[in-house]
Subunit: 346 residues, 2 copies
Amino acid sequence: MSRINILAVDAMGGDAAPQAIIAGLEIAAARHPQAKFLIFGDEAAVAPLIAGTKRLKNQHELRHARDVVAGDMKPTVALRLRDSSMRRAIDAVLGGEAAGVISAGNTGALLALSKIVLKTMKGIDRPAMAAIGPSAKGDVVMLDLGLNVVYDARNLVEFALMGELFARVTLGLPRPTFGLLNIGSEEGKGDEILRTAAAMLRESPIASQFHGFVEGHDIAGGTVDVVVTDGFTGNVALKTGEGALKLVGDLLKRVFTSGPFARAGYVLARGGLNRLREWLDPRRYNGAVLLGLNGVVVKSHGGTDAEGFAHAVDVALDMIGQDFGARIAAGLAAMDRAMLSTTADE
Amino acid sequence: MSRINILAVDAMGGDAAPQAIIAGLEIAAARHPQAKFLIFGDEAAVAPLIAGTKRLKNQHELRHARDVVAGDMKPTVALRLRDSSMRRAIDAVLGGEAAGVISAGNTGALLALSKIVLKTMKGIDRPAMAAIGPSAKGDVVMLDLGLNVVYDARNLVEFALMGELFARVTLGLPRPTFGLLNIGSEEGKGDEILRTAAAMLRESPIASQFHGFVEGHDIAGGTVDVVVTDGFTGNVALKTGEGALKLVGDLLKRVFTSGPFARAGYVLARGGLNRLREWLDPRRYNGAVLLGLNGVVVKSHGGTDAEGFAHAVDVALDMIGQDFGARIAAGLAAMDRAMLSTTADE
């Protein structure tokens, strides 16, 4: 079995670990019969769960890891745990045993460990977190989703380059469009960092795909394929959008259970309503990717269930299968050569 | 007729001005038979529209204003127009002819003119824009929505104080709760400005109503009555939430028109669905308020229709009727005395 099909898994991260993790891997194993999972965690807790699976038990290797990175643990503390399931899973990528790693655990710790173990890609100053969400015109990629509260124009440009490549690989778009999130689409809007980043992008090799500034409503509106922003704004926007969708979902549920007529109405429109619910299901969009590291690192939502975790595994295997790491490295190198003159005056 | 019932109106601002403005005032006139509208605009365009109304024609006074502040006009240019409908309407508040002003025009110009003519309140460094939106637990106030891209901790504290008072007056809550928007609820999250603002709020006279940091999903979740943030984040969050709601609305429309069964289902569940649509209707939340100025200044969405504009008029008349200006001034003065020791070390 080639290394390209092996995904390292932190079995101990997330609110429902290790149960939801193992159940999610079982779903993923059925969808990816050629994949193999290198699982790290507390053997006493994990082994019995795996023993109860049908497919995973033949598509895995379990390694005992003594320590667990707690959800509220500071990254500096997590770094000191030498035998955590998270650390060991990342180490497996560095050692060449796996092509990528997935964890539903502590995001800060996952980033800190990945940066220290795998290192940031050549040409990238700061990694960014990207995810895919629903829009009126299909899927939309957004980044950064929370890693970079402090950032500069060059960081935003790098996020744009990485996001563009991510959309090409995961959405299969030959020339994805992208925009910088701002509070207006006019050129003078926003702060100095945004205006500088926009100027740099207008001179970049992907300038023709640059839509300029976009606004909050453009995310769900599908104005562009990739929405580029800083980690603070992206995190707030993501959670605000999720919150709004959840509000409508909850209210609709209330409407359709409010009486016999409404119930009958639901039954009649069920087909379309279920398709809509499935399409907007947050689990379908689970699996954020830490871009800019030497290796595929996928972060599952900590509160997700087995189905959601399986989707995050899909994302990781998709990126591994498409050799995302090598493609993004090549793309960045090409970009860097082209932009050398543009950014030399910084 | 007392000055407290008089609202100055810029008839020329917004995408559908003056038609939507006058039609909106007609709706508002029916709802507020005691109110009077001091309307500024191009007499030739506006007078015939008013003549066609039933109620407004008896509840208004029209004053000719030669100039119009265009939607894309820079504030510095708008300031030079001496006889714009927007300027004249604001002047009417300064001159004591009206208790407040409403415009659906250029936000930047409205802010700049209001600051120059009415001045910022004593004790307030920067005005902020607030609006009310839907949440799972009733209405939620959010500010700032776009005025302050540059800000400091003291500004955020002032936004919190103004937002708390705004929620008391407009939502009728005796002790509204509030939170600072951040990317996590833990104390160490966010940048230095947010952490300093949180520390100041924990020492403020409204500390017991301070929920600490809240996240994007808490806006629609209704975790707090008032969500406090900077103008960039607030603007993005507002538009992202609106975009998400619009996406679901559009998709639901498609579901219920997708075939005869779905259509019949819609008919059966129509009562609840219509109530839901009305409740989430963006027009019902139209009318953002510029807080921190000496006078009530309400900004209607430029793209709204007559119904939406009428709602913004409701907001303005509500604030005027409750003597918001005097109450916020008194509240800020009390707050300032109490916080003098806390902020002296800044």
